[in-house]
């Protein structure tokens, strides 16, 4: 393995930026703004960050980094520990596998694809809780969370694109195909 490339400073800095943004996303999700049971569940901001990085900068969103963020979120927000991180890791891996092919499509296509992935993630979490015979949350609440997240994604994508200057790389060969 080319270890020098793997641990190059620029790559480490990008991973650190990814981790920092993920941590901020978790903190914002966990901020005590609506403690009453009727309050709308906060959007899944971490999913937006992970999805954006997995498609644009797959090498920074390493498997271990995504796992660490997902586990932190599960532990901090008391989601079913393990279900959240498992689904997040699989979603990230799937998006990385699609990789550069997505860059030729329009943003609307990307948005639709992410909406489908997020719906699958949420349904998988719900099913895991159901299978383990714990009390699953109301589907309406999960629906609100899905809507809020998908409404937030374009905004966050704009912020990442123009504030952090992270977009599609031009002219990069599809590195995944052998």
């Amino acid at each position: 393995m080319d270890l020098a490339l793997w641990f190059s400073p620029s790559r480490l800095i990008r991973t650190a930026l990814f981790l920092a943004l993920g941590l901020v996303a978790i903190f914002v999700e966990a901020a005590p703004l609506g403690l009453s049971a009727d309050a709308y569940p906060s959007p899944d901001i971490l999913f937006c960050v992970v999805a954006y990085w997995s498609t644009r900068r797959p090498e920074a969103a390493a498997l271990i980094a995504v796992f660490a963020l997902g586990l932190t979120r599960d532990l901090m927000t008391d989601a079913p520990v393990g279900a959240g991180v498992l689904t997040l890791v699989f979603a990230s891996e799937f998006l990385k596998a699609l990789g550069h092919g997505l860059s030729r499509r329009s943003f609307a296509t990307e948005w639709l694809l992410l909406a489908t992935v997020l719906a699958l993630v949420i349904m998988a979490q719900w099913l895991i809780v159901l299978i383990l015979l714990a009390h699953p949350p109301y589907l309406t609440d999960l629906g609100y969370q899905w809507l809020a997240t998908m409404a937030l994604y374009p905004v966050l994508a704009l912020v990442f694109r123009w504030l952090f200057r992270i977009g599609w790389r031009k002219g990069e060969p599809a590195s995944r195909s052998p």
Partner: protein, 307 residues
């Protein structure tokens, strides 16, 4: 770099990646099993993490709270005039009540002195700031920034100015996790006040938890105050919880007194139940003496001369 070498490299990278993915799945499944079986190790892991992250969390929280507070104040600003008038009227009413309360207090003190009453519960409290909630729809819980260092005990009741909020389910060094009354797994023994009927308050992720196992529902009325009964010895008796709501079909719910929408500070009660005889020889061999002595200086000054 030869072509075969780079091919080998990708093959190696792939197999490492596959092994990592397998490990991640294994760890997640293991954690899920721990979570489902309510393993105390997971709770400790949670609070160890919370202990680390609490200081940096407030950095993100403060601007967010400031913004939400501003929008709330902005709305309040518009009904300032009517609020002011209402408050003046209420002050007048409360002044009359204050006089009555003073008289009653004097009378109460005299009667207590006559009776030589011993006030049972040794209750002290720690106040903390709510720093995180479970953002997701899975659980209704909150994180408070006081912990074992400040004397929080597992299982304590958490109250705000108006009533019961929840109970402590995990204590870290600097952080405490609360299970709110609205969570699916919250169960609290309560008492419906004038009639003294007992019931269990069960959360179901709505803002008004259900009242289960209510004995003699004919004797209670909508609007009756609900308080903790103290059964089970976890919560002190007589903490206000809320008021009764009747639903069509004979179901009862409780409108909680605690203001969940504006919960910023909570008070965690340290409660030592009164002497209880729950096993053979319990009267002779009561709890270790050390625990009693520790609790003594914290007891309220009014605890009289009994015992």
């Amino acid at each position: 770099m030869g072509r075969t070498a780079s091919l080998q490299e990708t093959a190696l990278t792939r197999s490492v990646h596959r092994i990592l993915l397998g490990l991640v799945v294994l760890v997640s499944v293991f954690l899920l099993i721990l979570w489902r079986s309510d393993n105390p190790r997971l709770e400790r892991l949670r609070l160890a993490l919370a202990d680390r992250l609490v200081p940096s969390m407030s950095l993100v929280n403060q601007p967010l709270e400031f913004a939400s507070g501003m929008s709330r104040d902005y709305r309040n600003f518009f009904d300032l005039y009517s609020q002011n008038r209402e408050l003046r009227r209420e002050i007048q009413r409360l002044r009359a009540w204050r006089e009555t309360a003073r008289q009653l207090e004097d009378q109460n003190a005299q009667l207590r002195a006559l009776n030589n009453v011993r006030l049972a519960p040794h209750a002290t409290f720690v106040t903390g700031d709510v720093i995180a909630d479970s953002g997701g729809p899975f659980l209704q819980s909150a994180l408070v920034n006081v912990g074992a260092r400040d004397g929080v005990v597992d299982g304590s009741a958490a109250v705000d100015g108006n009533g019961l909020v929840g109970r402590v389910v995990g204590v870290g060094e600097h952080a405490t996790r609360l299970l709110l009354l609205t969570d699916f797994s919250s169960r609290v023994p309560v008492l419906v006040q004038p009639s003294g009927r007992r019931a269990i308050l069960a959360g179901d992720a709505t803002s008004a938890p259900v009242l289960e196992f209510l004995e003699n529902p004919d004797e209670v009325n909508p609007g009756d105050p609900v308080r903790t009964s103290g059964d089970g010895g976890v919560f002190p008796p007589d903490l206000p919880v809320g008021r009764l709501i009747a639903l069509p079909g004979g179901a009862w719910r409780v409108a909680l007194s605690a203001d969940y929408a504006r919960l910023e500070f909570v008070r965690l009660l340290r409660y030592t139940p009164d002497t209880r005889i729950d096993r053979a020889g319990g009267l002779i061999l009561s709890r270790p003496r050390g625990a009693e002595q520790q609790a003594e200086p914290l007891a309220p000054a009014t605890s009289g001369g009994g015992g």
